[in-house]
């Protein structure tokens, strides 16, 4: 039980919780307290120091929107954003309740009446925007993976194809999302006609841009991984006379999985970074747009709200990375 818990904590990256578990299950207290100080105390002290520095430094800087907000104002704005969300939700439920009541009364008067249900059109709240961003990056990540994995496998399996595609990959790889966006916008607008689909145009533009910028890590890692599969495994596959499909799915891909997951992890990280810029430009209702709108808004709270967004982006990015590391640990066989 105990060793299982500890294993799980290691797997999920919550290494700092391990000494607590050990302490409460009766391991050597002194050693565990030392570990707690090392893994929890010292980082906490560093964070405290950083907040202090931030507070002091922020007071020195005067912008056109007042002094730069410190940690306190930022946390206050986080609370405001949280509250706004629930206020907005309440408004929405009240709107639907009113609408249902109205429709019911009309139907009661005249059962044949033609009634139409409206959707609530309130502005998306901060939490909605986080959700949109997550959805966008996820879809972009899927696009990227679907493109990069097969091409990567083909490149890795055939040296000539790799050599042929290498210059194209190397040239397209360093292009900034801001450069892709206008092109992607034009293409998506031309190809994806009609805005009646489930996905809005701005959503697709952002997702495609994310994919364009982030797929390279997965592609290259997959190609290198497939090309450098342990020669012994390939010999085994030959001696066992595995069919080509079995050779790929039972030998080559499992052997490459750790490399592939490293690539996917980088792809998701890059995708999350690119997303914010893409959303700003494409006006996709996510965190990027939130920041841009606040910047344009220019109220006295704006900078604090943007800082909330910055912290949110950081925390979510970190969480996504941890998730990928955990997945990677699950599939790696060494």
């Amino acid at each position: 039980m105990k060793s299982k818990t500890i294993h799980l904590l290691h797997l999920t990256g919550l290494t700092w919780a391990v000494p607590f578990v050990r302490l409460f299950t009766g391991d050597d207290a002194k050693e565990q307290l030392l570990q707690i100080w090392r893994l929890v105390g010292m980082p906490a002290a560093a964070i405290l120091g950083f907040l202090l520095f931030w507070q002091l430094a922020a007071q020195q800087i005067n912008t056109s929107l007042g002094t730069l907000p410190g940690p306190y104002q930022v946390s206050q704005q986080a609370g405001v954003l949280w509250k706004e969300h629930w206020v907005e939700r309440k408004k929405a439920t009240e709107f639907y309740a009113r609408q249902d009541a109205r429709i019911a009364s009309i139907k009661a008067a005249n059962p044949a009446a033609n009634t139409k249900k409206m959707t609530y059109t309130g502005k998306p709240t901060y939490l909605d925007q986080i959700l949109t961003s997550l959805k966008t990056v996820f879809v972009g990540f899927l696009f990227a993976s679907f493109l990069a994995l097969p091409i990567g496998v083909i490149c890795g399996a055939n040296k000539n194809i790799m050599t042929a595609l290498n210059p194209i990959i190397q040239v397209l790889k360093p292009v900034s999302p801001l450069a892709w966006l206008p092109i992607v916008t034009m293409i998506v607008s031309a190809v994806y006609v009609g805005n009646n689909g489930v996905l809005s145009k701005s959503f697709i533009i952002s997702a495609v841009t994310v994919a364009m910028c982030s797929l390279w890590a997965t592609l290259i890692n997959t190609a290198v991984g497939v090309a450098s599969v342990n020669k012994d495994y390939l010999n085994v596959a030959q001696v066992l006379q595995l069919s080509p499909s079995k050779r790929i799915f039972k030998v080559v891909l499992p052997a490459t999985l750790p490399m592939i997951f490293t690539g996917l992890r980088i792809t998701l990280g890059v995708g999350w970074m690119v997303l914010i810029a893409a959303e700003m430009m494409a006006q996709n209702p996510g965190l990027g747009k939130f920041i841009w709108d606040e910047f344009q808004n220019g109220s006295s709270d704006s900078i604090a709200r943007i800082m909330v967004a910055v912290l949110t982006i950081g925390v979510i990015g970190y969480a996504l990375d941890r998730l990928m590391v955990s997945l990677q640990k699950l599939v790696s066989f060494e």
């Binding site: 012994d232 001696v239 006379q241 079995k246 030998v251 499992p254 066989f333």
Partner: protein, 286 residues
């Protein structure tokens, strides 16, 4: 049954090209256990890869039952030096992978029985569903042997299967492999660097002279009665004589090859005088 005819094999290209195997002729008879003994780096692994069909010779041909081989086949099972188990598959699945390929007409249950029989044969029933990383070196090599045998090959090729194991585990596995081999006496070829291991297991021992340009030496017939018990062998005069003969032969050819290499290297030295630094002063004003 399995024949090598005038085999030459080169590695590298251009001026780096060197001959690894030089005019190799070998004939494995049905049911015979042959050991090839040689120094490390003499081309033993190349030889066994040729027999398995993993590589092709530059000259000469490999014949199996009189037919030229063109690639690996399940008729020639192979045990690799470093086990080469797939680390993401359990013991059972590692063995099953080959079985499913050789006996595609079998259903799941038949295959399972078959695999478990071989797992039992190498005394690993308790580890059937473990991953290779959870096993010791000896256990891993047992799995590798079971994997090769489960495909029911007609020839078993073993490339230094026991060289990475400690002496005690090695002795135990030698016994086990012999026991399994004794049951149906398939043709077997063992590559080894251990003369004792060769004498204990094989009917015929062929030394591979040290490379480059390695050739096969004369065969030494091992006429000791089976089953051979390691502790008893040590007292047999026949065993001692054979052991001394083979070791002497290997040492002689080893020394000869070293001499040859030295002669060659001496010849290769360029005829130039090195510039020696005299003093910092003279260098600065030269």
């Amino acid at each position: 049954m399995l024949q090598l005819k005038n085999i030459h094999k080169y590695y590298g290209e251009g001026r780096q090209r060197s001959e690894v195997l030089h005019n190799i002729n070998l004939d494995l008879n049905e049911g015979e256990f042959v050991a090839i003994v040689g120094y490390s780096g003499s081309g033993k692994t190349t030889l066994v890869k040729l027999l398995a069909g993993l590589i092709t010779p530059d000259q000469g041909e490999v014949l199996y039952k009189g037919q030229r081989i063109n690639g690996p086949s399940h008729e020639r099972g192979m045990v690799f030096q470093n086990y080469s188990l797939l680390p993401w598959l359990s013991v059972f699945k590692n063995i099953d992978l080959g079985v499913a390929q050789v006996f595609p007409q079998w259903n799941k249950k038949q295959r399972e029985e078959h695999v478990l029989r071989y797992v039992n044969m190498v005394n690993l029933s308790h580890a059937t569903h473990k991953l290779p990383a959870e096993l010791s070196g000896g256990m891993r090599q047992r799995v590798a042997v079971a994997r090769a045998l489960a495909m029911e090959p007609e020839v078993l090729l073993m490339d230094e299967p026991l060289s990475a194991l400690d002496a005690l585990t090695r002795a135990k596995l030698q016994e086990e492999i012999l026991k399994i081999w004794n049951e149906n006496r398939r043709t077997a070829l063992l590559i080894t660097n251990d003369v004792d291991e060769g004498i204990l297991m094989a009917d015929r021992i062929i030394p591979l002279n040290p490379g480059p340009r390695a050739t096969l030496g004369p065969g030494f017939k091992v006429d000791l009665e089976r089953p051979r018990i390691k502790t008893q062998l040590n007292h047999m005069p026949e065993y001692k004589r054979l052991r001394n003969d083979i070791i002497e032969y290997l040492l002689d050819t080893g020394a000869e090859s070293k001499r040859n290499q030295e002669v060659e290297q001496e010849r290769r030295l360029p005829d130039v005088q090195p510039i020696l630094p005299k003093s910092a002063f003279s260098l600065a004003f030269r």
